[in-house]
């Protein structure tokens, strides 16, 4: 087994426009995803939702600036850390991760052990 990060990219404006029912539906989808990872034989090691990029602060060579490090339309909105057998398995898991706008980037995590 190896560790992979599941990076969720999307359009923040979409999430901001959701009704309370819409937010609940997204949360349910993430709950279902968390369950599905185990059913697929993987393991969910962790994950967080990131606050809006409007709250981001960048530090570059000591200089502090407002905003994300890289300006993009689709921003990193959250991530999971999962354990999977191989890339195919990690992709199988990533396909179930909710990303109503944008998509998912799968990146292996370097094993320093």
């Amino acid at each position: 087994m190896a560790k992979y990060s599941i990076l969720i990219y999307g359009d923040e404006a979409y999430y901001a426009s959701l009704t309370p029912e819409g937010v609940a539906a997204v949360m349910d989808a993430h709950g279902a995803f968390a369950k599905a990872v185990g059913e697929l034989g993987g393991q969910l090691l962790g994950g967080e939702e990131l606050d809006s990029v409007s709250t981001a602060t960048s530090v570059r060579g000591g200089a502090v600036t407002d905003g994300p490090f890289v300006e993009t339309k689709e921003t990193l909105g959250g991530f999971y850390l999962v354990e999977a057998r191989d890339l195919d398995h990690a992709i199988e898991i990533a396909k179930l991760c909710p990303a109503p706008t944008g998509g998912i980037e799968v990146r292996p995590v370097v094993d320093h052990s």
Partner: protein, 433 residues
């Protein structure tokens, strides 16, 4: 050339993938496996000159390469690689013998060249599916397939795609690193993923053929060696996955297209359009084989896929005694079915070109031009040289010379292939008042 050298060259061409793929399983590393396979071919020269060519050269080479890999691993066991390739353990076959344990079997014990029995997939399939994994960039998939599955040296791969050798070497190295780093498994996909993954493999083989069929730039229109590598690969895929109609469809398509290769250029190397080709110069053996495979691909499944349908279109052309006798109604009908399974603007453009040969008002150059003009707005066709070329041809046939000349000029600016440029320049000169 002596017999041993000839046998060795033959074994390289036919069995390289087999030798390498089986060695990867022992080496657990693509680079080490490649080195060992190459060393095995080198050592074969002296050994075969001394002892004669073995009954099964592929088995001899595989055994030699796998021994070399084991030796290398023993020597390096203290600094064992951190990230070995993800080689799936092999299920034992029907006889209870795991396919990975035939290392010391006698020559004959190794079923060289054929599909392994007992449901154990041939190692060449693992190699092919790994090289064509969708997580790799398309150009890397093609390069890796040529390098690893076909055993083409990196300088020749670079030459085939007209990039500097260093660029190609870096591309191949990067792809190998990704296979190892992201842990792309060395295995044949499960049945559920097979259709999608097979499509990826067939796309690579088709791209390889197209690259050879109309070399993207340079003086020659066709690079036969690339086309033949692609045909060999398609043949291998059909042999290894005989129940996949799309593989059969692709091989049919390639054979029907390859059959026309001698008619596509004149003795001076100039492009000859399908319309003007001497059909007696089409290879009759390839045509009949291609038609047979196409028929099998079309009738095998519930709904033919995109390669089977493309093969069927090539088949209608192959079956027409002359260009004028082409069943354009069938061609257009097949393009409609093709568009239904594969929404590609290039397919729509080809359909429009065929439509021009049907009677007006539904067909004819005027109706076709209207379709082409609509397609011109599709951003996916921006910079595609065959779009202005198709427009130019329709305008020429409608007698609209000034507009035709402008379209030929536009197409000329977009194509890099010298044979095509010469053809377009000739057409341009002919329509200029």
């Amino acid at each position: 050339m002596d017999d041993v050298t000839r046998a060795l060259e033959d074994a390289h061409r036919r069995e390289w993938a087999f030798v390498l793929a089986a060695t990867v399983r022992v080496a657990g590393d693509l680079d080490l496996a490649e080195e060992c396979a190459q060393e095995a071919y080198v050592s074969a020269l002296a050994a075969w000159q001394r002892d004669g060519v073995p009954r099964s050269p592929g088995a001899w080479l595989t055994t030699a390469a796998r021994h070399k890999a084991l030796d290398a691993l023993r020597r390096a066991s203290t600094l064992r690689r951190k990230l070995p390739l993800l080689v799936e353990p092999v299920e034992a076959d029907a006889t209870g013998r795991a396919a990975g344990q035939v290392l010391d079997a006698a020559d004959g014990g190794w079923a060289a060249g054929g599909t392994a029995g007992g449901g154990v997939p041939d190692d060449r399939l693992r190699l092919l599916f790994t090289c064509c994994h969708p997580a790799l960039a398309p150009e890397a998939q093609v390069a890796l397939t040529l390098r690893l599955v076909c055993g083409v040296p990196t300088p020749d791969v670079a030459h085939a795609f007209l990039v500097p050798e260093a660029t190609m070497a870096a591309r191949i190295t990067r792809a190998k690193k990704k296979i190892q780093g992201a842990r792309i498994p060395y295995r044949v996909p499960a049945a559920a993923e097979l259709p999608e993954r097979l499509d990826s493999v067939l796309t690579v083989v088709h791209l390889l053929f197209s690259t050879g069929h109309t070399a993207p730039s340079g003086a020659a229109l066709v690079r036969d060696d690339l086309c033949e590598r692609a045909v060999d690969l398609a043949r291998t895929v059909v042999a290894l996955l005989p129940d996949e109609p799309e593989a059969r469809g692709l091989l049919g398509l390639l054979l029907l297209t390859h059959a026309r290769r001698h008619a596509r250029t004149d003795p001076e190397g100039r492009l000859v359009l399908l319309e003007d080709q001497d059909r007696d110069r089409w290879d009759p053996v390839l045509v009949s084989l291609g038609l047979k495979l196409t028929a099998e691909a079309l009738t095998a499944g519930p709904a033919p896929g995109r390669f089977a349908l493309q093969a069927a279109i090539a088949g209608v052309h192959a079956a027409a005694p002359t260009f004028a006798d082409t069943r354009w109604d069938r061609v257009v009908g097949l393009y409609d079915r093709l568009l239904a399974v594969w929404d590609s603007p290039v397919v729509a453009l080809n359909r429009a070109a065929a439509l021009a040969f049907l009677p007006a008002p539904d067909g004819g150059p005027e109706a076709a031009l209207a379709v082409v003009d609509t397609l011109a707005a599709d951003p996916r066709l921006a910079g595609y040289p065959y779009l202005p070329a198709a427009r130019a041809d329709l305008l020429r046939r409608l007698g609209r010379s000034t507009e035709a000349a402008a379209a030929y000029q536009e197409s000329l600016l977009l194509t890099q292939n010298a044979a095509e440029q010469a053809f377009l320049a000739g057409r341009l000169a002919a329509v200029r008042p």
